[in-house]
Symmetry: D2
Subunit: 307 residues, 4 copies
């Protein structure tokens, strides 16, 4: 947190059918449905998240990500970063408070990879779901599905990784925790963090701008990844790959698709990063192992199934 | 144990190079090397096994299984079953004591699927490896690799499943714990057990006789399956599939190949079977899920990579 | 299974208040309530059990165990063993079919330690709970509490361990899997099995006859033991000890009390036993470690809180 | 990381016999011995730590902690904080570079609870132990004992918690993640963090100044906590309590003692904290559950065995 950006605050995803999507995000992944707004958007969160919501589903004709938004420590930080983003060359848009119910004003900006991002500092805090604020139990007994604990990060595909790195590191104070370099030393994947986590956002180089690869939710254990895999099978959900481990970050993971074709990940584990750590580097000749540590080869879907 | 056959006692595998094979079975899977005989065969065991050995590696020009051998409660049982095997129509061969060092006489017999099996009752007991017989610790600190606990079962491919079922159930007292039936009700896979385990031997229908699919070794936990997967990757071992779960038996598993092309499995969990339990049935239209519960599809290798 | 006795079939426990007991056995341990009979007894089972029930709760003025009953492979075995039990000197009583709804006739007999046991061969089979008999999923999504899979065994305290050993091994065909010997070589604990499990019944030497120490239920993993511990805390249930590991059997365990003072155990793991294995021996000077492997000391409660 | 302090950098512990201590910290806990200096001090680290060392053992007549030291992002931060510490009233001492081999200059200061702390910004980076900096494997195959991943935090006992809170939060930029309040709302325990971790240092109120409760090392899983417990038993190490879970932070833990009487902890899991999160509060009437979630009572040793 070099410049006051703390963490991913929320992601807004487009889904083709909101009720079908809820079977996925609420009943299967186990996010808590906390609100529906006047536009029909549904707000959800993982049970460990203190803020009111972290996932917003919007019904639309095309799947994909509308934007992902990062929470800052103060409104003053938002003001400061707003100026720096504009100076960097971003198109900056002010989104008024309560455009998302319970959330303060947000500053939205475009990016060299063509994705829309936001920063904000104020959101209603409703506390962890299902446990008391005082003398809290270890976990709520009422969780369902995969019992995802939080929205953790997203992975985005786009062309200008260098520009995106400058934006996130120089302007927003992220660090590069992990990267893949090709034979010319050019970065083809970058995992960026604002804290101790292995990634708060990740990018993979891709000729098209603005593509969404997956939203990721955190589980506590490898046994929960197994149970997530079982649930994917029990519910006839479309599996991408897993259970397996990543080489990058060494997290343990499974990928699958929501009914609209958006990819989801649930994972556990993963390395930690401090600002004084050099980035962990994988080389492109080991790209298969970097992504899927056990099979050591990419499946075609990983590179092409994007929304 | 309806007729005195207790469990798989040992399996003899053909490997192209014994030292390369030891890197696989001893260093990677973590079996204990306990002996080499005058013929150059190497004897190994899992650390929890009380008998002297359970795996014999023989250097040969072709990979595959020479035979798998089942231990009976007494020599009287061996005599009795020898007669019944002959009456069933098996070609029965008497193998003298110490043909395998430390093992008593064995009765070898052929089978409708073209595999060679044995029964025996006497083998030197050296106790669990690395722990005391009195006041034993929970596990030995000196284990390596995947720390496999025991040789658990093998899966064989052959044509005459009906004949094989009669041989194992009617003559040897096994039960059918799990099966796959095709649309005509014909059995295309059968998992047979002499005890509480989901399988002590398994067969899948295949046009050729006498093919070997895999030898399987037991791990204690799903976390150990993950570490096994990691070790497969670290040692550049050829992976077949996993970590995943089977539908049949619901065990958690990973498949990989020894340097000679023989398939190995390490797994944990798995359902239990008692003699009064009806067999668990999977239907051929769910064959993918029966074999690989998460992907719900067979990989071609599973059906064709045989030794 | 040397003489046709397969496994623990059911246990009947006395509880002071049936509805309070159900909060413990059904809601907390996660057994399935399957039936109430005309006497007001409640029948339950673990979800993996194929037979209709395995636990019967009876409201009474004193807690404790009425009897524990073992299932045989056939009525002929029951007849044969009935004769042998009588010849051994047991008082044998014939309990007619349907004294427990859905269960065939039982043969009840007393024992040198003063406990009541039964054998039977017939019980309604309703299949595993919550999963299909054909193409079964890995587990039912509707389980609650600790999700116990089965009634596994009970531990009984009594005086005449030698007599009890003869009864179970010589008459009923059990093996002694594990034992504790005092400095004179006298057996002060014996763990007996009819199958591969480390124990189907266990006895600890105690001056009084007929005391009940605990009923034990099987979990799949050490993580489930943790969650069981969490649930014990969340429900303000009286904890005895755990999570920890036993030295004997090396199972991973937690002990706690039902509202009537009967002790319950949930556990996972544990060593396996075959009939040709010598018993595992612990010596009395290591009794603390034999019982509680980590603390290496007995808590007073373990020896004195009996029903 | 509000003011540039990143994490615990190293702790110097006094032990009565260096070689005995190494059996504990290196062979049992599994830290890597990386260096011995001219004074005979031994330097160790967890394998995931990028810096050269994190634990220093010094032979002395009395056990306990000499100091614990926090790493800052830059020397400029150290300069700035040095001034602020002096202004706060700390006695500040400049320790020259290489007083600890491989470490830059440190600023040492006393504290209201009587403990000695340090900040520093420069230390030799030798990378994670046993894995390559490029294309790193998931873990090194050569680890021993408990395979501790890093020095995580320490817990200190002292009188002036309010002063200590001001020092760490106001001067050093820590947050209060968790606390225990007595019936008068007075803080009797405080868990402070410079990052996402539940605690980078913790304090419990105690009439004496400057007491050391334990140094804690991070494991990856609850299964590793079990194996740690097993190793404690196998090595006849003095156990304090565990395996169990804390209420505070909800981490899964085991406590034990080094041969000099210093308490060690290994643990996994634990909640996360962001700067905008209100502190998690436990009340003193739930103190037992706050510390030991399962037993819900303190053992006397936890409060009195200090060094």
């Amino acid at each position: 947190m070099k410049k006051g950006v703390m963490r991913p605050g929320h992601i807004q995803l487009r889904v083709l059918d909101i009720e079908e999507a809820l079977k996925h995000y609420r009943d299967l992944i186990g996010l808590i449905e906390v609100h529906r707004d006047a536009q029909g958007r549904v707000y959800l969160k993982g049970w460990t998240e203190v803020d009111k919501f972290s996932v917003v589903l919007r019904e639309a004709d095309q799947p994909g990500m509308d934007f992902v938004s990062y929470k800052c420590v103060s409104e003053a930080v938002v003001d400061q970063l707003r100026d720096e983003l504009a100076a960097f060359g971003c198109n900056v848009e002010d989104i008024p408070a309560d455009e998302l119910d319970g959330c303060g004003r947000r500053v939205r900006f475009d990016s060299p990879t063509g994705h829309m991002f936001e920063i904000f500092a104020t959101k209603e805090q409703t506390g962890k779901w299902g446990v008391s604020a005082v003398n809290p139990e270890a976990w709520p007994r009422e969780l369902t599905g995969m019992k995802a604990t939080r929205f953790d990060h997203c992975l985005l595909y786009g062309d200008d990784l260098e520009g995106s790195l400058k934006l996130f590191c120089d302007v927003l104070g992220f660090d590069i925790a992990e990267q893949v370099l090709d034979e010319n030393g050019e970065r083809i994947a970058q995992f960026l963090t604002a804290s101790l986590k292995a990634h708060d956002v990740a990018f993979i180089k891709h000729p098209e701008k603005g593509k969404f690869h997956h939203a990721s939710f955190y589980l506590n254990t490898w046994e929960e990844v197994l149970r997530a895999a079982d649930l994917i099978s029990m519910t006839d959900t479309s599996l991408d790959i897993g259970p397996t481990r990543h080489g990058l970050t060494h997290g343990q993971t499974i990928y699958f698709f929501d009914p609209s074709g958006n990819r989801s990940e649930v994972f556990c584990g993963g390395d930690y990063h401090y600002p004084d750590h050099p980035p962990v580097t994988w080389t492109a000749d080991h790209l298969g192992k970097a992504i899927f540590y056990h099979t050591r080869e990419l499946n075609e879907r990983f590179l092409t199934a994007l929304t």
